[in-house]
């Protein structure tokens, strides 16, 4: 029995470029997002390599200080606003959310398409305003430094706000869809944890983004009416800007990480083939994190001259973000106990995530502790910490999710061996790049430095070499994924034997997701009751059913 591509699928129907440009199909919109964020990730990643190359030695290596400052600004702004924030919710989330709850689409398909266009417009606007006025402020745009670069703060905040609007659209869509369009029988506690995470994320998006609008309004008032708000020359308070900035951007950090936690829950359950441990604890910990995320912004400002009382309160609350995060990690570990662990590429990413994200989380404790933070603030320790969380966390989870849903999205299987090697190279390269940066930082190396005192050189060089390996890893992943689109084998409905609903439709899915109306048959993690017979499908692909390893599969791919 050999599988063929289902005739009626969303990739093939309807036809023509125009049908993609005006599509209301959440799956296609997800792919549009996927294409856009991949492009931005490649650009910002390339900038990162430039940064690391410049830092190989003190003094000028490949660019002068001004260029360097613009490059790291562009790297940060693109990665944060154009890549990470939309990566999981807008690209993967758009694709899987309706499928996972058995819906035909999101609640407001037109709004969904609008969000993509707003995102593209906002991205172009933001990049243009950075390039046009050669912005070199870092992605945080702190006043008053940023006000010396002409009107760039206003246009950058406007850019972030436009992008934020696209997040709000996606957020509203997800909230309403989850409330109104779940398949019959799918109660809240039968929702996959990915949905809980996306739901919590959507709440933050809708509530936090308006703060950007307020900031924007204040900036405009100051600039055009001369009301002193942030600019010390007008009697304003530059630190106030930092409060506004972080009041949005700290919750935004959780917009970036919460959906990643959702993906990991799915991967751990599916590839452990076991009922997830502590379902309710994981679900509620997402909401707890979303809630606390609004109350910790000033922990970015412990050295800004804020009052000691404020510092104490913010330090105290900050520590409590750690608890729900720890709860999730231990629940995942316990899920793996007495399980049946299948170490496929997505699972390799999930384990890699636990390793890296635990480091990211634990190093956060150093920064929450006031006296230690004074020493570490604005050093490479911070740089390492947030890369462990954002990249070791979100990007690794994103890749795990991408490899998990790839067969569903495109109906194609990628080369499993290449997948694992790619995951391993990225893991090694990542640690080589960022582990030394913790030491650099605790030794006192400040961030955003174009040059540095000689003592830091060996660790900087090591970190740079690591980043080159990391870059190669990403290129490899890109190459074999593209390869699979053309030469990959046809994927069955449920290659992983997963119990969530998106695996009950064809790969790739029907334009309306499911051919029939869905009714919930079993919970998303009922691996104690339900067994999907996927062995036949697997044998057909040359998988050895006793070891779960890919067998002649690769050769037969080569023959084709």
């Amino acid at each position: 029995m050999s599988m063929v591509m289902p005739k009626m699928n969303y990739l093939a129907e309807p036809k023509g470029l125009w049908s993609w440009i005006v599509t209301y199909d959440h799956k296609r919109i997800g792919l549009l997002y996927l294409a856009a964020i991949t492009l931005f990730f490649a650009i910002a990643g390339f900038l990162a390599i430039l940064i690391r190359t410049e830092l190989l030695y003190p003094g000028q290596d490949i660019m002068d200080a001004n260029t360097y400052n613009q490059v790291f600004t562009l790297h940060g702004a693109i990665m944060i606003f154009l890549f990470i924030i939309p990566s999981i919710p807008a690209a993967l989330g758009n694709f899987v959310l309706p499928l996972m709850i058995g819906a035909k689409d999101v609640a407001f398909p037109k709004l969904n398409l609008a969000s993509w266009y707003i995102y593209v417009f906002g991205s172009i606007f933001a990049i243009y305003s950075i390039l046009a006025s050669a912005v070199d402020t870092g992605w945080t745009f702190y006043t008053p430094y940023s006000t010396t670069t002409g009107t760039a703060v206003i246009s950058m905040t406007l850019g972030a706000f436009i992008l934020g609007f696209s997040s709000i659209f996606t957020g509203i869509n997800f909230i309403v869809t989850v409330h109104k369009m779940r398949a019959p029988g799918m109660t809240w506690y039968k929702l996959p944890l990915m949905i809980w995470a996306l739901y919590a994320t959507a709440l933050i998006q809708v509530m936090a983004t308006p703060v950007l609008a307020i900031t924007l309004l204040l900036l405009v008032l100051e600039r055009w009416l001369g009301v002193g708000i942030f600019d010390p020359a007008l009697g304003g308070d530059p630190v106030l800007y930092q409060h506004f900035f972080w009041f949005y951007s700290h919750p935004a950090v959780y917009i970036m990480i919460l959906p990643a936690l959702g993906i990991i829950s799915e991967l751990i359950a599916t590839f452990s083939h076991k009922k997830i441990f502590g379902y309710k604890f994981i679900a509620y910990s997402s909401l707890a994190i979303a809630f606390t995320s609004f109350l910790v912004w000033a922990h970015h400002m412990f050295t800004s001259g804020q009052s000691e009382l404020a510092a104490m309160i913010f330090s105290f609350i900050t520590f409590f973000v750690g608890v729900p995060t720890g709860i999730k990690i231990f629940n995942w570990l316990l899920t793996m106990y007495k399980a049946q662990i299948d170490l496929r590429t997505p699972m390799v990413y999930a384990l890699s995530f636990i390793f890296l994200f635990t480091i990211g989380g634990l190093t956060g404790i150093f920064l929450g502790a006031l006296s230690v933070d004074i020493h570490l603030h604005d050093t490479y320790f911070i740089v390492a910490h947030f890369h462990y969380v954002m990249m070791g966390g979100t990007v690794i989870a994103f890749l795990g999710g991408l490899h998990f849903w790839w067969p569903k999205m495109f109906g194609k299987l990628y080369n499993e061996t290449a997948g694992r090697i790619g995951a391993a190279i990225i893991f090694v390269g990542f640690n080589m790049t960022f582990l030394p940066q913790f030491v650099l930082g605790s030794q006192g190396m400040p961030r955003r430095y174009w040059t540095y005192v000689d003592a830091y050189q060996p660790l900087h060089a090591f970190s740079s070499y690591g980043s080159f390996i990391l870059g190669l890893g990403f290129i490899l992943v890109f190459v074999y994924l593209m390869h699979s689109l053309i030469w990959g084998r046809q994927a069955p409905k449920n290659i992983w034997g997963s119990l969530t609903m998106e695996w009950e439709t064809t790969s790739p899915p029907h334009p309306h997701n499911f051919e029939e109306d869905k009714v919930l048959q079993h919970g998303p993690y009922d691996y104690d009751k339900v067994l999907i017979d996927r062995d036949e499908a697997l044998t057909d692909y040359g998988y050895d059913t006793t070891t779960g390893e890919p067998g002649e599969h690769r050769e037969s791919v080569a023959k084709e």
Partner: protein, 318 residues
């Protein structure tokens, strides 16, 4: 007292550093233990429960309130230790000593200046006595900077329109790096100074000499020293190359094109105005980034600089 740096931390050279390091290592050790537990469990389970054949049903055990309580309560307890320890250390940093040396610090693109009560006025490098508390009252002349001495474990933002304070008591003699840690533009990474910690006698002699420094030197010689000490060197070269500002080579008595369309001649008055009030006249082709030296140079020091700039012309004119 321990004064060697470790892999993790630079040498601890102030009274508060030990407490900070203690907490740092406590968190590090605790984290390593927690991390080891997580990774060990993960590795053991991945190996022990690996998939060995066809899919089968797996046990339904999916919650355990005792375990959930355990891994909620233990971490909460641990972070409370970190919180209180960190807060108490922070309060020690924030309560200013009542006595000791007081220095006024100004951060400016892209150098630090230090104004002593004794009258001395220094740029980038400054000195303090060992084992005596020092209080810095800081403000910025332009954007936000941040004053950081890794070996002292202190850091404080330096803001325009507002004073912030930081204090330390050095415990060892030596020379330590001062970094700016709040991004402030092009030469942010070169906004690096040194703090010299001197013994009590050396400090007394030093402060005496810098307070009256240069009065007895020939003006041009004093100017040459100030050219480096006052950071003119970061922006003005002596060999004709253009850094941020025009080179001093052959500058004397040259015609200068100004952005307002007029011309000026580089004479004593133009020089003086350029240094005291640099925004008044801007040389065509340059950004108005030169900081003002108003209040930072005494009259005889200005004379010295002027004499020196004159001489850059003479030397090369030969």
């Amino acid at each position: 007292m321990e004064n060697e740096g470790t892999v993790w931390l630079p040498p601890a050279n102030s009274t508060i550093a030990e407490d900070v390091d203690g907490l740092f290592y406590w968190i590090l050790d605790t984290s390593i233990i927690i991390f080891a537990i997580v990774i060990l469990l993960m590795a053991v389970f991945t190996w022990r429960y690996r998939r060995r054949g066809k899919d089968t049903l797996t046990p339904a055990k999916d919650h355990n309130n005792f375990l959930e309580a355990l891994w909620t309560i233990i971490p909460t307890g641990l972070i409370m230790v970190a919180f209180f320890w960190g807060f108490s250390g922070y309060m020690k940093m924030r309560v200013m000593p009542l006595e000791g040396t007081e220095i006024k610090v100004t951060g400016q693109k892209w150098f630090w200046s230090y104004q002593y009560e004794e009258g001395a006025n220094l740029t980038n490098d400054f000195a303090v006595p060992v084992n005596k508390p020092v209080t810095l009252t800081m403000s910025s002349a332009d954007v936000i900077h941040s004053f950081y001495v890794p070996n002292f474990r202190i850091k404080m933002d330096v803001l325009p329109n507002r004073y912030t304070k930081v204090w330390f008591e050095p415990t060892h003699e030596g020379v330590f790096d001062v970094f700016c840690t709040e991004y402030c533009g092009q030469a942010h990474s070169e906004m690096v100074g040194k703090v010299h910690v001197l013994s009590e006698e050396n400090y007394a002699a030093w402060i005496d000499s810098v307070s009256r420094f240069g009065e007895d030197l020939p003006p041009a010689e004093l100017g040459e020293i100030l050219y480096v000490k006052k950071a003119c060197v970061t922006c003005h070269s002596l060999d004709g190359s253009i850094v941020q500002g025009p080179s001093f080579l052959g500058a004397w008595e040259r015609d200068i094109q100004l952005t307002d369309g007029t011309t000026a001649i580089m004479d004593e008055n133009y020089l003086r105005e350029s240094i005291i009030n640099p925004r008044a006249k801007i040389h065509v082709g340059y950004q108005p980034v030169m900081p003002t030296y108003q209040g930072q140079l005494k009259d005889y020091e200005l004379d010295g600089l002027i004499a020196f700039i004159k001489q850059v012309k003479q030397q090369t004119g030969q």
